[in-house]
Every structure is written in structure tokens, then in C-alpha cells.
Symmetry: C2
Subunit: 708 residues, 2 copies
């Protein structure tokens, strides 16, 4: 409920948009000193081919780099779309005020000295800046950023020394340095950009805003994000989910501590580690997550140029056995298949290739292959109905005409626009020109066969999950009843409360009650029927097994009496300060396999639901899957089938399938419970016993936030 | 025993060695046609700076490229060290004969048309070639290869178009195309070579020979191997183990089906997959295994230039936050630690860096850092007693003097020869010259922070296992008794034979016997004592659980009778053609956790021993470790501690440690059994029940090779 309201506010607030193609740019803090950024930026503005008006502003000059210079923005008579500010931090707010009065649309604030300092002064200054911008309906990029580039109109309003090539990739980077390094790298790899924005402190425009800007930008076909933090996780996921259906998004996220200092008391929390929320968010939003800077650029070059791969079936064409095998090896781990070519293709290949060539997949056109063989092989494979994508590998042999081959590939690719093609021209100086020919024609050329295959696999998209993240209409009665139950509760809930709460949601708990003396324990056992289980009941004891707080399979009075004494003694010894409520006597269910279902509330992405193999194996193997709530039943099935333990559920080694349906339903119920009750912060159902025809939650921990 | 003999023969056979620095080279098949390899090779020989004599041989010419040409090798009056043959395959044997008569020391056979054709003719031709070489005590490189390069004497006896740079890395490649591609790539990355050898079909000299050649070559400091197959696994491991102690070896192995078509009937075999033997071999031999071509070159550039990293503690120095975080993230997964700098270092850094700089680890010298700051930070970290290695990251900001910084790093590195330094200058054209300065000074410069950290981690070596692979002296009595037991046996051994065999080796099996009728089953159960377990006994049934062939925890007569009937019925139904020996009645041990111990015999690397988590989790999680036999007790401990289940063994969640000692001893005994009995091909002990004070093998399968 809380989340819905926050989103609503955000939607109603009419944010001023970013000016993608400004008709005029002012640079406040322009300088003639070569060492100063104000000089570098002015030079970039002047030399990158920007055709509209540039206004350097510096009261000490009347002219800079041959352009008339103004004393202040107010002194300019024409309207200004974009103002870049690169003056000392202390002057920025006043200057922003002047810009507001001048009706500037967008501010790019290069200056540092704001919230990144982590001082009160810096934070205060940034708040002030933001309120000025809001007052005048200006949008802000930065502060503390590199600036922005829009190559299609020759705009370089940044201090990046590398001129960025015009293309269809938008690069949004939280780090200016990374943007610079990536732009410089792309000078060689040939990736071109529709937009480069360094978003710095994200005082106003953040990654979600820029996703929206890219969504409606016709020049952008793919989006690369380098992020160190995500400002509003839920909004980011919602936006990315919508945008990624039209334009692929690749994310490289550095910094492994998204969840920050959140205290974790549950297994689920411990298992989530620092990346579970991010991984779940990316999966949910359809974002490609790159694990290295290299993969980031590889994925962008492939996703921005190639059509989707419609099946897992690819062909590899190579002029050398070794790299062909490396490509084949990688295909397996990347989930692609080198299927057999159809007979027609093989016979076509036999006609055009020498006898020693291999017409199986990978197709080996041999070390002395020239452009004709590559062209013929590419054509034959592209025409093969069994093949949906082609990876083409070249090693520069002494007789290999690399550039000719590149040209033939370009021609052939034009003839097969629906077949994705990824090339790998291995080597250095010998293949440099050929690589350029390919990349300028929009055919990705990567440096290793492994990378080429890996990037190709990103073009294969499984059915996208179209379930929206919006909350379902809560069943108001149940939701209010749950709220009433949790009112004034904090910390670990008692067994009784958990039972009541779970009963509301139809969660399958075992019969049982808490005994405060041995005789009562016997009466409860009697009423439930043997065998029973005995467990310590205490708000202070989370991991009962560890301190001897559980005894299972108690078959008669004597065993219950003994267990009652043993558990009490052990808990008094190992947890002397714990408040004890008594001993819970429950129906013992010696059935099925142990699973764990859990939930945590991520401060940024909201509730996350988890399922995994339970018992001691949870800790050993971390065979778990996390997803952002709400989780539909289909999604719950997807989560389960992504587990290694899926085999256990579907039946292995002569045993029948377990009750997957009930398990999936329980996941959904926990998801609903978490979204209904915003004060719930952690849930552990561990173990959930899953048999062939039923499941039961054998133990549950539910933690309510202290701030409730 | 068998292996020992084979090795001995190999040692006694006095192999003619390879001529690393020939005083004269003849090229048989030299040509003036530009399209022919005979022309390319002659040009390479002539133009690469080789100072000694070159003799082109071609009866049609008296001179080629200005060099006097001879009609045949016999026509040359001076002695010839190295002859390169590049004529059609059909002529090669006769020419080799002529070379033999001329007392040539080494033949490099470029020509294709030998065993790689997989025709009888090709194979026969290669055998003939080898016997000629042996007759005349010549060594052969190839056939079907690119040739060899020895840059230190300007020798390029290959058709590689890229002149290779002189350095200290030996590159041994089974694929000529890969060698060419790698050499060309290194033109940019700056790796230099002591030797490049393309070993082709490996008719004579193979990877193990070249390891020995590199071992004694003073110019070689690191060895890179690209292999598609390994000729003699055991010899390769023995040689690599010796060589890798002196010179690091990096291997990239393509092709995932080392074990070929070997039939696999055991769990151990299935779990081994195709790479277990290779992984075990690399670990045993101290070889660095690269998983991509990129990592291969990165590792070589670091291992060939940098001293070892003495601890896991490194510092990262950067001029930008983002890449610093990427480096830090990777350090964690690469097993390195960014430890706190000592107070002295921090205060030294505070003196030389501006206030906004971070003096924590990673050290951020800020975006406007010039050479002085990098130099000072590098010096301070290198002097810090807590730091054993430094990763230095640079992004090319507009004011970054990349080349100056490279020069300062080179100077500083000279001052700290014992501290490994790996740099990463991100970007493209802006950092190209700086990268060259670094690599020419022997400081590795990689392209991403992640790669730099990963490669740094290869410099950290855990205590090497110095246990030799030589077989221990077998206990002859036991070994002969085992041989007697296995005589004339093939396929799956009966329970009785397994019991006898295991008794010889002191392997802990449960009490039990096979019953052929229900009454006998009851008698056996009576004599062992309840509870018991009942299992089908059949040479044809491997996975008993899957077909209802096992009943556990039978507590009385009635249950045993019932189980006897059920198992028989189920086996008759599900395995109607299986020969049934009866039902095995065994002591039931409801104790401990299930592990699996197994062994297989790899056709190339010999016996492999495995341990892993048992039960159904074996299949789900593949938590296993393989090692080449023989395995010492220390190695068995290492295997166990590499498992994720190690926590289970050392005691988790309130439970005490299990009997690790007994488990390790059992692994060693299985290792000994496999080396004692060369006809044993597969062993599965699954499950091995491990309790706190004992272990027992609850089920065992032993398979003897049919060819026994």
C-alpha cells in the first residue's frame, strides 16, 4: 500500500523534461586557461560540430576561443535551452537562480562539492539547488558529473576528450571516469552513441528518468547503464520493464552492498547476500546484466545492431579448427546449440568448399579460405531453415584477405536482415581494418570466439514475463485483519500470532500448542496424536536446532517428558537470557523433502520472496531463487524450475513428483502477506515439508520491523 | 605398476632433442610464387634477422629472393641443423630420408596430408615418417603445422605473417591458426616470446617434450600451451609438475571430450563429466588453466613478468571511483583482500594527496591526478608492510598525462622488485602509448580492472602439493591377493567378491549375506541383529533404488518377510531380464551423513579418485572433487576441504564434527586399490555413511573392465 502511494505521488508530480536537442547552450564558467574544465568544455562545444548557438559566460572576458563572451546569463538576449555550470560549488545556487529567471530548460552541473562530500554543507547545498530548479521548472543533470553528449547534433557539453561517434546506443553513467574510459575504448571497437549522459549525484534526473528519455528518443536503439547505486528501486524496475520491451538495456552495476546496513536475522536474509535484490530486479525488468566492462560493451554492440535470435540454434563458421572448438565449447555453457545443418545446406557447402573442408557444424572453410568461401558458407547457413543465428570466426592466416572477407560479410548480412550475425576476427594489426569495416556496417566484431558466442546468446530471449509489478487489489478484510494482528508488535512474532496470521492466508501449518509445564505437554500430545515434535518457544531464539531446542519423532509419553526436560535444560544453558514462553508441542510429519520459503523487505526494491532447498543443505548449497513481490503462480513455478532441486520436485530415482502446486501456491501467499503487511520485514518458513500430495510448514519465523 | 613400466621405457629411450638455436636452416619446397607457403616461409626466414645460413631447396631454381638455391639437401656441402619441409605430403618421406642421410638434427614439417586426414593412407604416411626420423635420430615438429619461431636469434621458420616480439614467453600451440591469431593480438598487448612452436599432429615431439625443452631453455620464463588433445596424460602431468615449480605454465584446452567414448556405468563416471580428469591433472601439476583466450594472454603477461604475490593482501590505486569499485568487487571473488593500509601509509598518503582523495584502500588519487600523485601512492603502498601486491587503475581524464604516469610507474616498479604490480589503463587511443611504455618495461597492462585483479590472483600460490605421482611400492601380498580375486572377472562384481576385496584393504563394510529364499533372509537378519536392510543382488542392476530394489530399517521378522517379497516382485517387474542372485540382508546403520567415494580409470590420465556429498544430493549439486591417484592422506583432506559439504564434516548447526579421518583414509584406500588392480575400471561407494566416530560403506559397486 505504502509503495502504491509513493508511486502515485511521483506520477502526479509534473517533472520538467530534459532537453535532448537544445537550440542554444550557455557555458557558465567558460575559461581561457587550458588546465581548467571550463576551457575543455568550451573547446568541446566549439569543435564537435554543434551548429546552434554557444554562449560562453565569464565576466572577465568579452571573447573566448573566438566566440563572444557574456558577463552573465541575464546579459544574453536570446532564449537559452541548456546551461552548463562549471564554477566553484559555492557559486552554483546563485547562478542556477539566474538561469531560472532566464527560463533555461535544463542545467548540466559539472561542479563538484555537493552531496558527494557527505558533509552537511554539501548536502544542504544540493537540496537548495534542487529546490531552485523545481521552483523554476528546470531539470538538472548532475551535479558532480562529466556532462552530456548528443553526437547526432554535434553537441559535446562535457569535458570528455574523446569525440564520441554517432550511433544508436545511449550510455548513461553514474561515473564520469567510466564514461570517458568506455568512450575511448569504443574509438577502437566502433560502437556509436545516440546520447552520453554522466548523471553524477543524481540530484534531480536519475537512471529512471534517463530510461524514460531514451524510451522516447528515436535515435536510441539500445541503452547501456553504468550504475553504482539505484535511487528508487521499484520505479527503476517498473520503468526498465516497460522500456526493455522496446529497447534492450544492459546494466553493469558496481558496488556489492545494495542492501547496506540492514540487519539480517533470518536465513532468507543471509541467503540473499548483497545481490539477490539486484538479480531479481534485472530478471523482473528484462535487463541484461553484464559482469565485466568488456561484456558490457560486447552486449551493447550486439544488442544495438542485431535482430533477435529466434531459437537456440546457431551455426559457427571458421577458418581454423581451434577457435571453432572454443566457440563450440562456449555455446554449450551459453545455452546455444550447434545443430546439424540440413542435407541441402551440406550439399550446397560441398559444392563451394574444398574436399578437406568440414561441412558439419562448425563449418571449417579452411586456413586458406578467401572471401568467396566465407561468403558462400555464410549464405548457405543463413538460408538453412534449421539455423537462426551465425557466429563467424576468422584467424588471420598469411593468405587471408581480412578486409575482403569483411566486405563480403557485410554484403551477405544485408541480404539476410533477419538472421543475427556476430563475428570474431582474432588478432591485432592484421585484422584492424577489417574490424572497422564490419563495425561501421553495423556488424559486431568481437575479439574472442568465446565472447562472440556469449554475446549471441543475449539475443535469444525466453518468453518475457509480462506480469506487472503493480500490487493486486488486496482482499481488504484479510489485509485489515492482518494489520490488526500485527498492531504494536515488533521483533519476532510468537507462535500463536504466526498461527493466526497464517490461518488468515490459508498457509498450511501443523496442529499444536504451547505447553508451560510437562503435564500440559502430555495433554497436548495426547490430543494431537503421536508422534509429535517439541520445540522451544521463545522470541529471543531464532535458530532452535543450534542450541538443542528441538526434539523430533516423539512416540510416547515417556519420550515427550524426556524431551521437555532436555530442551528446557539445554536452552537455559545455551541461552540463559532468553525469555521462554514454554515448549511448543506439534504434530510430527515425517514426510517429504525439506524446502525453505522466505521473504525479506529490501529497502530499495521492496519485498523479495525466496524459495530454495531446505534443511542443512540450504546453507551448504544456496540453491535458492529470489523474486520481487508480488509473485504470480506462474512466476512461482518459474522460480521453482530454476532451482537445481527442481529434479527433486518432479521426481527422481524412482520417486514420484512432489506437490509442486501447493508449494507454488504457498510462495504466492507469502508474497501477498508481505505486500499486505508493510511492517513485516522477514519471514522464514524452514523447513517446508513437501510430500507427493501435501505440504506443511514445519517451522516458521516472522519478524516485524521495530519501526512498525 | 603398468604405468611405471611405460614411463621407464620412455626414459630409457634416448630421444633426439630439438635444436633450439640452429646454426643453419634448409627450406625444402622454397618457392618464388607469392601464393605458396614455400615463398612466405622463405621471406620470413630472410627478413626476420636470422644471422646464420639459409639454404632454399628447389630443383627448378638456382636462386630465390637473392639467396642461392639448391636442387636437393644432399647438394649442400655444409652441415644442416634444421630442415623445414613444405612440399606435398606424398614427397615428404623421401625428403625426410634425404635429410636423415645429411644428418639433419630437426625436421619441421609444415606439409599437411598425414594422420589429421583420418585415412589409412595418412596415418601410414605419418608412421613411416616417424620411423625414418627415429632411424636417423632426427626429431620432428609437426607434420601439419605452422612452423617455429625463435625471436632471440631472429629465426622465423614459419608462415606466420606477424613478426613475433622477443620476450620470455614460450608459446606452444597445437593449432597454427591459434598461434597466428595470438601473435597478432600480442602485437598490441606487447607480450614477447622466447619460442613459438606449432606442434601440429605431434607425430614425434609433443606438449610434454616441449615442456622439457622450455624447462632447460634459459630464455623462457613462462610457458603458454594451447592444446586440443594431450598425448600421454601421465607423462604430461609428471613433466608439468616438475617444470611448473620453476616456470609458470598456462593452459588453454579446447574440446570438451577428453574421455572420448568410454562407457560410463557409475555415478562417479557420470559426475566426472568431460573435464574432471583435466581439472585434476592441472591442479596436480600446478598448471594455471585459462578459460578464455583473453585470460590466457593476461595470465601469461602477468606470470612472465611479476614476482609471486606472497599473501592475499593487495592495494588498489585508482583515479576514479567506479573502476576502483569494480576492482574491489572482483578481488572478493578472486580470493584477494583489500586490507586496511597501515596508519603510517595513510598519513604518508595524506601528505601527498589532496584532501578530497581517499587514503583508504582502494586509494583514490582523484580524476585530476598527474604522475606525481600516482608515483607517491605507488611508493607508499609498496612500502606498506601489510601490502603484498598492487593493482593500479587509470581512466584517461582530460587532464591525465597517461604516458608520464606510465613512466613514473616503471621507475617506481624498479624500486620495488619484490612487489607484483599489475596495471589497467582503461580506454583506447588515449592510453595506447602509455600501455606500450608499460609493457615494454615488463609491467603488465590489462584492459579492465576486473581482468587485472583476476590475473593478480594467479600470482598468489597456495602451498604447492609436492607429493609425487609415482606409485607407492605396492604391498605385494595384498596386491597379488586382489589380482587373484579379480582373475577372470568382468563387469559388475558380486557382493561377495566386493566384500572379499574390501576386506583385503580394510575398507569398512557392513555385516551381511545374500539370501536366496525368505527363510534364509530371516536367519541372516537374526544373526546380524535388527534393524536390517534388504537389497537386491544382481550383476545387471546398478541403480537399485530406482526400481524398488532396496528396503531399509527393517525392524522385525514380519518386515523382513514383506521386504523380501516386495523387492523380488518389483525387480521382476522393472528388470525382467536381470539375473538375480538373491537378496542381500545387511546390518542397517541409521547414522551419519551420506557421502560418495568413487573412482574411474581415465584412458589418458589413469585412475581418478572422487569424493562428494552422497545420496540424492550427489546428482542435484555435483559437490564433488576429483584427484589423480595415488592420493595421499593430506591430499584426501585437501579434497574434502574443497567441498561445499566440508562444513557438514567439520560440524554445523550444533552438531559435532564427523569422522573426517576415517573418510580421508577410505579415499586413500580406494586410490591404492585402483593403482593395485589395473583391470578395475569403476568404483562407486554410495552412500558412505559418515558419523562422528565411524564410517561405513552402505553400498558399493565395483566394475572390472571387459578387456581384463
Amino acid at each position: 500500500m505504502r509503495v502504491v502511494i509513493v508511486l502515485a505521488i511521483d506520477w502526479y508530480y509534473n517533472r520538467p523534461m530534459f532537453t535532448l536537442e537544445p537550440a542554444s547552450v550557455a557555458l557558465i564558467g567558460a575559461s581561457d586557461e587550458e588546465k581548467k574544465l571550463g576551457h575543455s568544455i568550451l573547446k568541446n562545444l566549439k569543435d564537435s560540430g554543434y551548429k546552434s548557438k554557444i554562449y560562453p559566460i565569464n565576466p572577465k572576458h568579452t571573447e573566448l576561443l573566438g566566440i563572444p563572451c557574456f558577463a552573465s546569463i541575464g546579459a544574453i538576449s536570446e532564449p537559452i535551452d541548456l546551461a552548463v555550470i562549471v564554477t566553484p560549488a559555492a557559486t552554483v545556487c546563485d547562478l542556477a537562480q539566474e538561469c531560472g529567471k532566464k527560463k533555461v530548460k535544463t542545467l548540466v552541473i559539472i561542479s563538484a562539492g555537493f552531496s558527494e562530500l557527505a558533509t552537511d554543507e554539501g548536502k544542504k547545498r544540493e537540496r537548495e539547488l534542487l529546490s531552485i530548479a523545481q521552483h523554476y521548472s528546470m531539470s538538472i543533470v548532475g551535479p558532480n558529473c562529466l556532462g552530456i553528449l548528443r553526437p547526432s547534433i554535434g553537441l559535446n557539453a562535457s569535458f570528455a576528450a574523446t569525440p564520441s561517434r554517432f550511433g544508436n546506443v545511449a550510455l548513461i553513467s553514474q561515473s564520469g571516469a567510466m564514461a570517458v574510459a568506455l568512450l575511448d575504448t569504443c574509438e577502437e571497437t566502433g560502437l556509436g552513441f545516440s546520447l552520453v549522459a554522466s548523471i553524477g549525484n543524481k540530484a534531480d534526473l536519475d537512471e529512471s528518468d534517463f530510461l524514460e528519455i531514451c524510451e522516447s528518443d528515436e535515435r536510441t536503439q539500445a541503452i547501456g547503464l553504468y550504475l553504482e547505486s539505484i535511487k528508487d528501486g521499484r520505479r527503476f524496475v517498473e520503468t526498465a520493464k516497460r522500456v526493455s520491451r522496446k529497447k534492450p538495456i544492459v546494466l553493469i552495476k558496481s558496488g556489492n552492498s545494495l542492501r547496506g546496513s540492514m540487519a539480517v536475522s533470518s536465513h532468507t536474509g543471509a541467503l540473499a547476500g548483497s545481490t539477490a535484490a539486484l538479480i531479481a530486479a534485472c530478471r523482473s525488468a528484462g535487463i541484461h546484466r553484464a559482469s565485466t566492462t568488456e561484456e558490457f560493451l560486447d552486449l551493447l554492440s550486439v544488442l544495438s545492431t542485431q535482430p533477435p535470435l529466434l531459437s537456440r540454434n546457431i551455426a559457427v563458421i571458421t577458418n581454423a579448427g581451434g577457435p571453432g572448438v572454443l566457440a563450440t565449447d562456449r555455446a554449450e555453457s551459453a545455452g546455444l546449440t550447434l545443430v546439424d545443418l540440413t542435407e541441402g545446406t551440406k550439399s550446397a557447402l560441398r559444392h563451394v568448399l574444398p574436399e578437406a573442408a568440414s561441412v558439419r557444424n562448425p563449418v571449417d572453410v579452411l586456413g586458406d579460405a578467401r572471401a568467396d568461401r566465407y561468403g558462400a558458407a555464410l549464405h548457405a547457413c543463413a538460408e538453412d531453415p534449421a539455423i537462426d543465428g551465425i557466429v563467424l570466426v576468422l584467424t588471420p592466416q598469411v593468405m587471408t584477405p581480412c578486409e575482403d572477407i569483411a566486405k563480403v560479410i557485410v554484403e551477405s548480412a544485408w541480404g539476410h536482415p533477419l538472421i543475427p550475425i556476430v563475428t570474431c576476427f582474432m588478432g591485432g594489426p592484421h585484422v584492424q581494418k577489417a574490424r572497422k569495416i564490419l563495425s561501421e556496417a553495423g556488424i559486431p566484431c568481437l575479439t574472442t570466439p568465446e565472447a562472440a558466442v556469449q554475446a549471441m546468446s543475449a539475443l535469444f530471449k525466453k518468453e518475457t514475463q509480462v506480469n506487472p509489478l503493480e500490487e493486486k487489489d488486496a482482499e481488504d478484510d484479510r489485509s485489515s485483519a492482518a494489520s490488526a494482528l500485527l498492531k504494536n508488535q515488533t521483533g519476532l512474532l510468537s507462535e500463536e500470532l504466526v498461527d493466526d496470521l497464517f490461518a488468515l492466508y490459508g498457509l498450511p501449518t501443523p496442529k499444536g500448542a504451547v505447553a508451560t509445564h510437562a503435564k500440559e505437554a502430555l495433554e497436548i500430545a495426547q490430543s494431537i496424536g503421536y508422534p509429535v515434535i517439541a520445540k522451544i518457544s521463545s522470541p529471543d531464539i531464532l535458530h532452535k536446532t543450534d542450541i538443542g531446542g528441538i526434539a523430533v519423532n516423539l512416540k510416547n509419553k515417556k519420550e515427550v517428558e524426556q524431551a521437555y526436560r532436555d530442551i528446557l535444560a539445554s536452552c537455559v544453558e545455551h541461552a540463559p537470557n532468553a525469555a521462554l514462553r514454554g515448549i511448543l508441542i506439534q504434530q510430527f510429519l515425517p514426510i517429504g523433502n525439506e524446502f525453505i520459503i522466505g521473504a525479506i523487505r529490501d529497502p530499495n526494491f521492496g519485498p523479495l520472496v525466496m524459495v530454495g532447498l531446505g534443511g542443512i543443505y540450504t546453507e551448504l548449497f544456496r540453491d535458492t531463487c529470489f523474486a520481487l513481490a508480488p509473485v504470480t503462480e506462474n512466476q512461482a513455478y518459474d522460480m521453482l524450475s530454476s532451482l537445481k532441486s527442481w529434479k527433486l520436485l518432479t521426481g527422481m530415482r524412482g520417486k514420484g513428483a512432489l506437490d509442486i502446486d501447493a508449494l507454488a501456491k504457498t510462495i504466492c501467499k507469502i508474497s501477498t502477506l508481505m505486500t499486505d503487511c508493510p511492517t513485516l520485514c522477514e519471514i522464514d518458513l524452514n523447513p517446508v515439508l513437501v510430500a507427493q500430495d501435501k505440504i506443511v510448514i514445519a517451522d516458521a519465523k516472522v519478524v516485524v520491523a521495530d519501526r512498525a
